[in-house]
Amino acid sequence: MEIFGVPTQALFGQLLIGLINGSFYALLSLGLAVIFGLLNIINFTHGAQYMMGAFCAYFLLSKLGVGYWWALAITPLVVGAIGMVIERLMLARLYKLDHLYGLLLTFGLALIIQGLFRNEYGTSGIPYALPQELSGGRNLGFMFLPNYRAWVILASLVVCLATWFVIEKTKLGSYLRAATENPQLVQAFGINVPRMITLTYGFGVALAAFAGVMAAPIYQVNPLMGADLIIVVFAVVVIGGMGSIMGSIVTGFALGLIEGLTKVFYPEASNTVIFIIMAIVLMIKPAGLFGTQR
């Protein structure tokens, strides 16, 4: 097992890895936070949409010969569009009811999507190649850092900050935030609120799909890749504060770091630490670290 007094070099290596994982958590929880924070929908389908993103990238490559970089752009659009259809056809009917119905619906959808993919593709996983430009890595002295993983951190930070900026600092974002607080009033101002909601849901889903494409080269593309991840991502969003974009981003990265540390000192707990933190946060500050009580 693990030795105490891990040499600092090894520690840095683990922290860096933790940061990389945190990027995924941040990206995924960002999508969830957008959807919950702005729309009050608990999107249990998020994990399945992440998986669809990875599969879409795979299809693009194997059936159409379209490579990774194009996939990064196309996949979010495709999966986001599918998300918007789901929202229009099904979720929109539930807005008048308790939020828990939204949770149950998306839970059911997740079961369907995952089940269908699994029937078709089994569970061993499908290989997706690392893009040429990003293969190989750099020896940083304390560890060998694959280029692709460095790219993950970068891309994730950029996307997260861009999203945060759009929502918190631009006019579009302010319309959106207003629409969730008081849809009738905003609609009275002539803004098409239902359409904004649909687009926002689509955007959240697109973020999940984007994360899926990023994951495809390093984690096996398999139908269940989102299933257990979704619960962790929920925990991140809850800790960060269910309405807070910045909260999710920060918590995502922070969690990655904490998990990385746990893996060094007590790896068996690395799965549980997030839930322990979540339970504690919920006890003390149920709105989450950065959230505001709704």
Binding site: M1, Q14, T123, S124, I218, Q220, V264, P267
Partner: protein, 400 residues
Amino acid sequence: MFPSRSIFAAASLAFAASGAQAQISDGVVKIGVLTDMSSLYADITGPGSTVAARMAIADFPAKGVKVELLSADHLNKPDVGSSIARQWYDVDKVDVIVDVPTSSIALAINQITREKGKAFLVSGAATSDLTGKACSPNTIHWTYDTWMLANGTGNAIVKTGGDSWYFITADYAFGLALERDTEAVVLKNGGKVLGKVRHPLNAQDFSSFLLQAQASKAKIIGLANAGGDTTNSIKQAAEFGIVKGGQSLAGMLVFLSDIHGLGLDKAQGLIFTETFYWDLNDQTRAFAKRFAAANGGKYPTMVQAGVYSAITHYLKAVTALKGDDGTKVIAKMKELPTDDPLFGKGTVRADGRKLHPAYLVEVKKPSESKGPYDYYKIRATIPADQAFRPMSEGGCSLVK
């Protein structure tokens, strides 16, 4: 009201009644293939096992025995599996259950089969307890087990120079058992274990564990895990340049379908043990071709081959015995030597362990492979009498 199931009447056989039918319960030998059709092990066993079973029944020379095949998906859940088994035995009058991946389910069915005096031929599950403390006069453990994996891989690797190990272990009973057994073998052969790290089951990301393994500079990184954990570890190891950096990966439980899912560029150089490979000889190749044609182009894994072999021998015993009483058939199967095109000649021991040779294989580089599923180089052959745990060490109560 009872659930319909897929019944495939055997391709063979005339109904020539007479004495041959007299002691066969209900005049029909019913074989149930219980496997995982939809989750973790679907590609390793799953529908392919049913295909193998059908082929075995079809290939069995007609001798006046009517055979029926049922199959079901245990969804990788012990309660679903044991429900189906009970129902099959009580209501559908199934005589023998075959395959059953997932050790916990196999152990449960082992118990139920014993209570009801039927027969159980395990191909998919790994736990060596089936021929150890849980051994039963109604069960035969076919294809492989944890001891053989640990011993085959561990022994052979240490002997060929891999004498320093680092383990990446899935933190659950099966993974820990694999690690323990392999470590014992490594140490016995004069090797060293430089360290181990436990990861939670179904971890997606192995980078931090691989980093530690890399830092240890052990020659061999032993992956004491299975399924998605193994394939993920391997894929990410490739990313971190572990094999290029001179270390080798030893998979403790890897199947042909896993390699297929990974692709050779990620899996190349991986070393592990199996008891069947389709490209061993002309007979296995012929089988594989027929199998692939019936199984959507996928080649047989050792578990699926084991199903074929087990059913072949079972039917042989039933014919010789002219009856299908579970306990008696199993006893007969231990009496008769086995011989089939896939595993060659072998025997079944008193503790229910089927013996056949094991092969240490290494995954080819992409340049060395001439076609799909051409993945392995055979590094060594472990003779049948050394591949499996000696009967005296198992703690089986059937062995005096």
